[in-house]
Amino acid sequence: MPSSVCIRSISHLVRDRAAHTSIASRCLFAAPQSAGFSTSAARYALPSKKKTGTVAAPKRGVKSLNVKKGRKGVQVDTAKRPAQGERRALRKRIVLSNNNALEVPYLTDLEKTSALSKKNQGQVKGLPEEVVDSLRAVEAFKPTQGWSLFRRPATLIRKETVQLAALLKVAEGHVNSTEQAVEGREDGEAVDGAKEVAEVTAEEAVAVAVAEEGPKKTIRRVIVGEKMSGKSSLLLQGLALAFVRGWVVINLPDAQDIVNAHTAYAPLPESEPTQYTQDIYTANLLSQILKANKGFFSNTTPITTQPELGVPLPANTTLEQLVNIGINNPDISWPVFVALWAELTLPGRPPIMLGIDGLSHIMRNSEYFSADVKPIHAHDLTLIRHFIDHLSGKSSLPNGGMVLAAISKSNSPTSAALDFSISVAEARQARSGNLPTWNLYTKVDQRVMDVLKDIEVIKVGGLSKAEARALIEYYAASGMLRAKVDEPFVTEKWSLAGMGNVGELERATVRLRV
């Protein structure tokens, strides 16, 4: 549009009488009075008179008296707007330390040898420095969690964490330690009471079966629980334990980011049915993997396979170089990821931890559209397909490992199939005879149902009172809670937090201080 205006103005310029006096008199056209570029004439012209006449009386009920001041000079908002992405950065900012909080004297870090021990239950453990860096790299910390309240990141090792640690042991193939873990849990059961028996025995049975089958196993679990019960935190603890134990960790920090059509996608050639790669996202994921698993990538031998990437690989390419190729060339990031995965699953490599948060986002159609404007199912995205294959048990991790998916209760699109599968899994684990049946009048997403057929869940419930007490004592030792921590206080907070819901407990004790 502006271009055409400019052209017209130039043509006017040519016809300007001041410039061509000779033809001015002969010009028959109604030439413009001023230069075409000028807008002064219009601006300085007398304002057109307002239409005068008898104005009808305002209708009944219409406000006719306008006494508002300052109508004429409309205030232009001159405030500085935040730069692009600044608000988002502020929203997503992760603060992991608070200089005003006190150092907790009794706080010890998770160590490689004792991280999976059952004795940690009910203790608050600090996260080692390098693990914190890794967790930050894989975006395991969430802005809504209360890390910014304390001196340094530390977590409570709760019952579910110990359960998870036992599963990690199983995945690592420590048969003896598995048995120990099972025995230990039996002891714990006796203490805890009969309430969790069903749940834990189901876990146990699996553990025993796994222990009998072979040395290294793939453990697949979905973390479920109420809102603010610490599902994402448990996932973080699982990742932290994996980091401490020297696993390779690949974490999809938020499933929503993969499916909400905010990153570029392209069909994967020679795939039937068509799958879609997300090159930028995959390249970003590769860089996260590289940053998080520094220890593993720094001391790996050169790659042994010869992946077809389309770019020539130098001889003796290390894994780190391979990943860097993928990071620098997003176009081939997916083949690089596949090559990396092939390398990781070679014998002798460490176990792998696959994590995802916000599972229900990938259990439906994504926001992407195919070439014929049909919604693409989330399972047709290569990254998600890769994850789902391992979650469903279609592929396994030869070096052992764990596939951990956490659902969300606050940001989760409804997925009837997921809900149903979880309820079935819970009923199965509770050994109740009557499994829930699918409501025939609801639409079924068969792909999701097939994937989640034999899923198992870790149910995150409320803290026990002993755990709540340990946590509250940690708060008090950090100086964030100024109250006498005694039995009535702990019980009151435990009750008001809905029987030990850990997020609510934090809110009631350190966040909302009256």
Binding site: A57, P58, R60, G61, V62, K63, S64, L65, E226, K227, M228, G462, K465, E487, P488, T491, E492, W494, S495, L496, A497, G498, M499, N501, E504, R507, A508, L512
Partner: protein
């Protein structure tokens, strides 16, 4: 005087003349009246003035009335003597003088006047008895003026009625242990049919499972809570406290009865709430939990009252009125 009083007087007078023995007849009538108006001790001495009558004695012993002199007794014997042979026992009705039952018959409000006089007379007799302060006297709901007017069918002035109420209140202030039966009977006539504290709710029970039930309401919410001894677990409509109430404040107010009495770790609560909004439901729960807690520990009532868990908040949404935009808001003023 109530309707029918005059004919009754007449009939009684005639009856007294025709039937014998008279005192018995009088007795029956009086009994009937007494059953109708138990505390009325009006002076029903139709034509009888003789102190020899046992009834009069009885009456005066019941409530001491001021004696008054009515017309002299009709001497039938002498009349009979004079008319002997002539009329043959028939009474000359012309000679009869009908005397009203009450000396206040000729005042405008005879029943009220009688009531007032009787009460003041009664007060005079019991004036020396020890009294308690009005605050300590038993709470009584007296009849209102309108109710009294309907009862007596007389246009009693409000001010007069209040004067009578003063007397009644003074009578009510007599020490309860020394309250004469006569006075309490007399006061009965002026009390409303239902007295405060008459309806006592049945005491709460703890069933065999150890549960105690309480019901509470606030705004349009109503809550039922069952409380058992436990360790502080709460389920409301099948959800945990944190799930049901998003605000911490609502959680605290729902459990306020337990928290204020330091019983949060001693009981488990299972509750059902319906109606209203979040705040209303939370505060309905306060009352329900407090009532259930009172069943377990009745001695906590003063503490709970201090915590504000006993009294139901009667405030509700005020209704919208015609001509108003809302309950009170008027439409904006418009010039034309």
């Amino acid at each position: 005087m109530p309707r029918g009083e005059l004919p009754r007087c007449l009939r009684r007078a005639v009856d007294s003349l025709s039937t014998l023995p008279r005192p018995q007849c009088d007795q029956t009538i009086r009994q009937a009246r007494r059953s109708l108006q138990p505390s009325t001790s009006r002076c029903l001495l139709s034509t009888t003035t003789s102190p020899s009558s046992s009834l009069v004695n009885n009456n005066s012993s019941n409530s001491s009335f001021e004696r008054f002199t009515a017309a002299p007794e009709i001497r039938f014997e002498t009349q009979d003597d004079t008319n002997k042979g002539g009329q043959g026992g028939k009474i000359n009705l012309r000679t009869l003088r009908i005397v009203p039952a009450s000396p206040s018959y000729f005042s405008a409000k005879p029943t009220f006047t009688d009531d007032f006089i009787n009460l003041t007379a009664l007060l005079r007799t019991v004036a020396t008895l020890p009294v308690v302060t009005p605050a300590e006297a038993p709470k009584v709901a007296w009849r209102t003026v309108d109710q009294y007017r309907i009862m007596t069918n007389e246009p009693v002035k409000t001010q007069r009625f209040h004067k009578m109420l003063h007397v009644l209140r003074r009578l009510n202030c007599i020490h309860p242990t020394l309250m004469p039966k006569q006075v309490s009977d007399a006061m009965l006539r002026y009390k409303k049919a239902a007295q405060p504290g008459d309806i006592k709710p049945p005491p709460g029970i703890i069933d065999q499972a150890g549960r105690a039930k309480g019901v509470g309401r606030r705004k349009t919410s109503s809550a039922v809570a069952w409380i058992v001894e436990g360790e502080g677990e709460v389920l409301i409509n099948g959800k945990s406290l944190a799930q049901f109430f998003g605000r911490l404040h609502d959680r605290e107010s729902a459990m306020w009865a337990l928290k204020a009495t330091q019983r949060l770790d001693k009981y488990n609560v299972w509750a059902l709430v319906t109606g209203g909004g979040v705040t209303g439901q939370a505060e309905a729960l306060t009352l329900a939990v407090a009532k259930a807690l009172l069943v377990h520990e009745p001695a906590l009532k003063p503490a709970l009252r201090r915590a504000g868990c006993i009294t139901r908040d009667p405030r509700k949404v005020e209704r919208k009125k015609p001509g108003h935009v809302k309950a009170r808001k008027m439409p904006t003023w418009v010039k034309r």
